[in-house]
């Protein structure tokens, strides 16, 4: 009797957990549906009733790609260092550092970006400093730990006998890394990149605090940008009517992008070639 009750209760919790993502999808779709046709446009200006998400989408994509341009090579380098080069004692010091960094709340990264990166850009390049470039730098530092640890796993998953064979043939560590490890771990590395991409695309606070948030297409890396996520955080508090619907609809767009990216990550990880 008690056993049956427990089974029923646990099944119920599982159903609630599984319903979570469906409820989120339902909420943004239902609340945003009426505004969906209004999203296709190049101007986001709620005061004029124009809700084109193009500048926001461009902001999100540019910040994400810019941050990956920094985080991917650095992360792969860190992964190589941890799995191939570092003595175990050193790796055991660096790894907790990365883990700790990954745990720091994004609002703190935003704050550090605001007090360090933004003034630095202002001093070196002029302008307000709040810019696409600042967003890319802050985000790159933020996703680097994830990138590094997944890349390390990918390199560690490469069959050790391949490595030993290459060294036995007289290959240098550089040759082993470049000609053997990178191609052999490409599945896992691709998964790492897509994972970092997903995180960067979804990040809100850190980016919002340093990018200046002008909803316009940037002409240079020093121009301000506004992302899809930042836009929701900035405007939700006072949005009503069609404006609020448009924000929910932009959330639905974000969810679609996110699910597509995660699907890609799963495929990349499953494709083998060093994946799990």
């Amino acid at each position: 009797m008690q056993d049956r009750l427990a089974r029923a209760a646990l099944t119920a919790t599982a159903l609630v957990s599984a319903a979570g993502i469906l409820l989120i999808a339902l909420a943004v779709t239902v609340e945003g549906w009426p505004a969906l046709p209004h999203l296709f446009g190049a101007v986001w200006s709620p005061e004029e009733g124009r809700f084109g998400v193009l500048p926001l989408l461009a902001g999100s994509v540019l910040v994400t790609l810019g941050s990956l341009a920094g985080a991917v090579p650095l992360g792969i380098g860190m992964g190589l260092f941890l799995s191939e080069v570092a003595p175990p004692q050193v790796a055991d010091l660096v790894r907790p550092l990365l883990r700790g960094m990954a745990a720091v709340p994004s609002v703190v990264f935003g704050f550090l970006g605001l007090t360090l990166v933004v003034p630095w850009i202002r001093a070196w390049f002029g302008g307000p400093g709040l810019s696409l470039l600042a967003g890319c730098i802050v985000l790159a530092v933020m996703v680097l730990p994830t990138m590094a640890s997944v890349a390390e796993d990918a390199f560690r998953a490469v069959d050790p006998s391949l490595r030993e064979g290459a060294y036995a043939l007289g290959a240098s560590p550089g040759q082993v890394a470049w000609r053997l490890l990178l191609p052999a771990a490409r599945g896992g590395l691709a998964a790492a990149v897509v994972l970092a991409l997903g995180r960067a695309l979804g990040e809100t606070m850190a980016v919002l605090m340093v990018t200046g948030n002008a909803a316009a297409l940037p002409r240079s890396p020093l121009d301000p940008v506004r992302t899809l996520t930042g836009n929701i955080a900035l405007e939700m508090a006072y949005a009503t009517g069609r404006h609020r619907q448009a924000l929910f609809a932009s959330g639905a767009l974000l969810l679609l992008l996110n699910l597509a990216v995660n699907q890609l990550a799963r495929r990349a990880a499953g494709r083998g070639g060093g994946g799990r």
Partner: protein, 265 residues
């Protein structure tokens, strides 16, 4: 290649240590007991962060109280009860998909359902419920690992002694898996304390001592965002950031310590 990678690792490590050191240097002067436990005045320009500290604790505790039973229950179902087949696959896929969803979307969902539809308004309750959903995937994954790591033979032994499956879970599996479950809970708690976007949309920004779950409350993370964004008080922003980071790293350190102890045992 070795020196190049070594230099890279050194640079990255130095940057990370440097950032934390900077926070400590600039925040430690202002981070006193008095700062933590007094009321703010002039919108946070002066005084302490007592209401933000309390709101943060309530939000995190509320989220945990909701997410732990749900997540642990789901994990137990997945490992102990779920009949193999497509249904389990679906539940697993759906909960894993939840893990990658950006926090602002949790905020939108919480806003639509808890704040508006259920009429709770921007409140600690709405914030906790939203956070709970966000923490679920972490708790499910870590609990599932902990529960699955309990040796089959213990369950079989319990069954041989006449225990029902639920008795075996309650008396044998859960005590064995407790350190692992607790580790996951600590990690999740760290995320709850630091989360900003989802809380901003659902718990509001009211900077007074919360008196009921339906009161709005400004968490420390949201407080930091507002202080920094409005350029209100640099010293107080640094102290708040330091307190936040210290809290989160403490929780993560505790989680790591628990995990290592669990492995040794």
């Amino acid at each position: 290649m070795r020196p190049l990678l070594g230099a890279l690792a050194l640079a990255v490590s130095a940057t990370m240590i440097g950032l934390v050191a900077l926070l400590v240097v600039q925040g430690a002067g202002n981070l006193t007991w008095e700062f933590l436990f007094t009321m703010p005045s002039r919108a946070g320009r002066e005084g302490g962060i007592l209401p933000a500290l309390l709101s943060t604790l309530w939000l995190a505790a509320g989220a945990m109280a909701l997410a732990l039973p749900l997540g642990l229950g789901t994990a137990l179902w997945l490992v102990e009860y779920a009949p193999p087949g497509r249904f389990v696959g679906a539940v697993r896929t759906l909960t894993e998909a939840l893990a990658g969803v950006p926090s602002i979307l949790f905020g939108l969902f919480g806003f639509a359902l808890f704040v508006v539809r259920l009429g709770w308004g921007p409140s600690l309750l709405a914030g906790s419920a939203t956070l709970a959903l966000m923490l679920l995937p972490t708790i499910i994954r870590t609990s599932e690992e902990a529960v699955a790591a309990v040796p089959r033979s213990l369950r079989e032994g319990a069954a041989a002694l006449g225990a029902t499956r639920w008795d075996a879970i309650r008396l044998v599996v859960l005590p064995q898996a407790a350190p692992g479950i607790l580790t996951g809970a600590m990690l999740a708690l760290g995320r709850a304390v630091g989360e900003t976007a989802a809380v901003l949309l659902t718990a509001g920004t009211d900077l007074s001592i919360p008196r009921s779950p339906l009161d709005s409350g400004r968490s420390m993370a949201v407080h930091l965002y507002l202080l920094a964004g409005e350029g209100l008080s640099d010293g107080r922003a640094h102290a708040t950031a330091l307190a936040l980071v210290a809290g989160v790293l403490l929780l993560n350190g505790l989680a790591n310590w628990l995990m290592r102890r669990g492995r040794k045992a």
